[in-house]
Symmetry: C2
Subunit: 245 residues, 2 copies
DNA sequence: CGACACCTTGACCAACGTCAAATCCGGTGG
DNA sequence: CCACCGGATTTGACGTTGGTCAAGGTGTCG
C-alpha cells in the first residue's frame, strides 16, 4: 500500500566551506548563534558543507550516527518506516533547524531532502566533546530539544485526536508561521512538499489530503495558485478549524 | 463525547524529605544518579517531596512552570486537551522519570496521577541555575530529552500509522519492557491505568481498546487476570503484531 | 446488599482508506 | 510555438476500520 521506491543512498558531495560562519545567513536562528567568535572558530574547524538533492537522504534510520547537521537552506523531511512500507514523516526541517540531536549511536529516522538542501555537517563525537568544553552549546542544545519535544507533543495530539480538516488547517498554519519566523512572506504559503509527504506527515492518505484541500477551496478559505503555493483567503476560518471542526 | 470532569486543582501536600537522596530507591535511574555527593547535597537543599492522589494533578497545561519533578513512586499521566474535551495522553511516567523538562514558562501539558505517586519537586529557576554550575546535570538532562524525543517519534508512528491491534500490542510490550527496566516482574504485566487512559494514549476509544483486548484474549495471546494485570501467553505473537498486523 | 464506576458487548454509522480512472502540469524535444 | 510524455493531483465509487450510542455485566467498597 504505502510502498514506494526508496531514494538510493548516493554519497553526498562535500563542499569546502566558502564563507565563514560569521556571515552565515541563518547563524542567528541556529545553534551557532550563541557562540563567541573564538568558540565559533572551534566549531568551524569541524564543519563541512554538504548538499542533498531532492529525494536524496543525508542518512537513513538505523545508520550509525556519525554526524549531526544544521540546515542552511532548503527543506528536509524526517521519516520512519514500518516493515511493510507504511511511512510517517515526523517532521520537516527548514533553514536554521538542527538535525540528529539524539545522542544515540544510530539514527532514529531517515533524513531526506524535499527540495535541494544545504547542510552544515559536524562530526558527532567531536561536537559532543566540544559541548563538554562549552556549556553554552549544550545549553542551546537542551533548549532546542525542549522545543522539539513540545512540537512532538502537539503533533501527537494532531495524529491521535484531530480530524482530517483540523490536521490540514494546523499544517497550513504551521507552514505560514514558520515562514513568518524565517522572515519570509507568509501569505501565499509556500508548500514545498507534495501531497504524499503531507499525507505521511499528517497520518492521512494523499487522496484525503487532496479532497480536504478541495473542500477548503470550495469553502473559499484557501485558493491554490501554482503548484507549491497556497493562498489563505480567510485566516480566521483556518485558525477556527485548527482545533475544532 | 470525550468530556469528563477535570480533577480539581487541590493544593498538593508537601512532605519534608525524610530519607536522604543517597538512599533513594530510584537514584540510579534518575537525574540525580550522575551526581557526586556534594552536588547531590546542593540538589537536596532545594527539593521537596510531594504526593498526588489518583486523579489529582501536579500541574495543569498552561500553568506557569515553577517546578520540575522526578517521579519516585507511582504512575503519572501527561495529557493535552482540545477545546471540546478531546484528550490525548502524551505519556505515562514511572519511577525514575523526569517531568517538566521544557524550559518554557508554562507547562505544555497536565500531569495527573494514575496511582498514588510520590514526586521530588525542584524549583525550576534554581534548578536551571544549578545546571549552569554543574554541566553534568545539564548533560544528563539533554540525554534524557533526547530519549524522550526518540520515544515521541515512535509514538507518532504509532498514532499516525498503526492499526488498533498494533497499538495495543505495542502498548503492552512497552509496559512489560518498562517493568523489566525497573527490575519488576514483567510477565503478568501490571497495567495501572484504566481503559479510558489507554484509549487516550493510543488515539482510540475505550470500546475499541476493550474489543481489541478481547480479540487478543480469544486468540490466546493474552489472558486477563484480576483488574490491572494482563498475562502474556504468547510474547512472540505480540511482538509480531506490534509492527504489522 | 446495593451503588457506582469501569468494562464489555452489540447494532449501527461515518470518516477515512482503497482502488481505479481521469485530469492537470511542467518539462522536453521537434 | 506546440505536441507529447510522465508524474502528481484530483475525482469517483465503494469498502473497512474504528467510532457512536446504548445496553448489559462485573467487581469493589461501603
Amino acid at each position: 500500500m504505502y510502498t514506494r521506491q526508496l531514494a538510493r543512498h548516493l554519497p553526498i558531495p562535500v563542499v569546502k566551506l566558502g564563507s565563514p560562519c560569521n556571515s552565515c545567513d541563518i547563524r542567528e536562528v541556529s545553534l551557532c548563534g550563541a557562540l563567541a567568535d573564538e568558540e565559533l572558530e572551534r566549531l568551524r574547524q569541524m564543519v563541512a558543507t554538504v548538499h542533498c538533492e531532492p529525494g536524496q537522504a543525508a542518512f537513513h534510520e538505523g545508520d550509525p550516527a556519525e554526524s549531526v547537521f544544521n540546515v542552511v537552506s532548503g527543506t528536509m523531511k524526517l521519516y520512519k518506516l514500518l516493515p511493510d512500507g507504511r511511512r510517517l514523516i515526523t517532521g520537516f526541517l527548514f533553514p536554521g533547524d538542527f538535525l540528529g540531536i539524539a545522542l544515540h549511536d544510530t539514527y532514529a529516522y531517515t533524513a531526506e531532502a524535499v527540495e535541494l538542501a544545504h547542510l552544515c555537517r559536524f562530526p558527532r563525537r567531536r561536537l559532543i566533546l566540544l559541548m563538554e568544553e562549552i556549556p553554552l552549546l549544550e545549553h542551546r542544545m537542551l533548549g532546542h530539544a525542549a522545543d522539539e519535544l513540545v512540537a512532538a507533543q502537539d503533533q501527537m495530539l494532531l495524529l491521535g485526536r484531530k480530524t482530517a480538516k483540523e490536521r490540514i488547517a494546523s499544517f497550513l498554519l504551521m507552514l505560514a508561521e514558520r515562514a513568518a519566523r524565517l522572515g519570509q512572506r507568509e501569505n501565499p504559503i509556500r508548500v514545498p512538499m507534495g501531497r504524499a509527504d503531507m499525507a505521511d506527515y499528517l497520518g492521512l492518505t494523499t487522496e484525503t489530503v487532496s479532497r480536504t484541500l478541495t473542500q477548503l477551496r470550495n469553502s473559499g478559505i484557501i485558493a491554490t495558485k501554482d503548484r507549491g503555493r497556497i493562498e489563505v483567503k480567510a485566516r480566521e476560518a483556518l485558525v477556527a478549524l485548527r482545533e475544532s471542526g
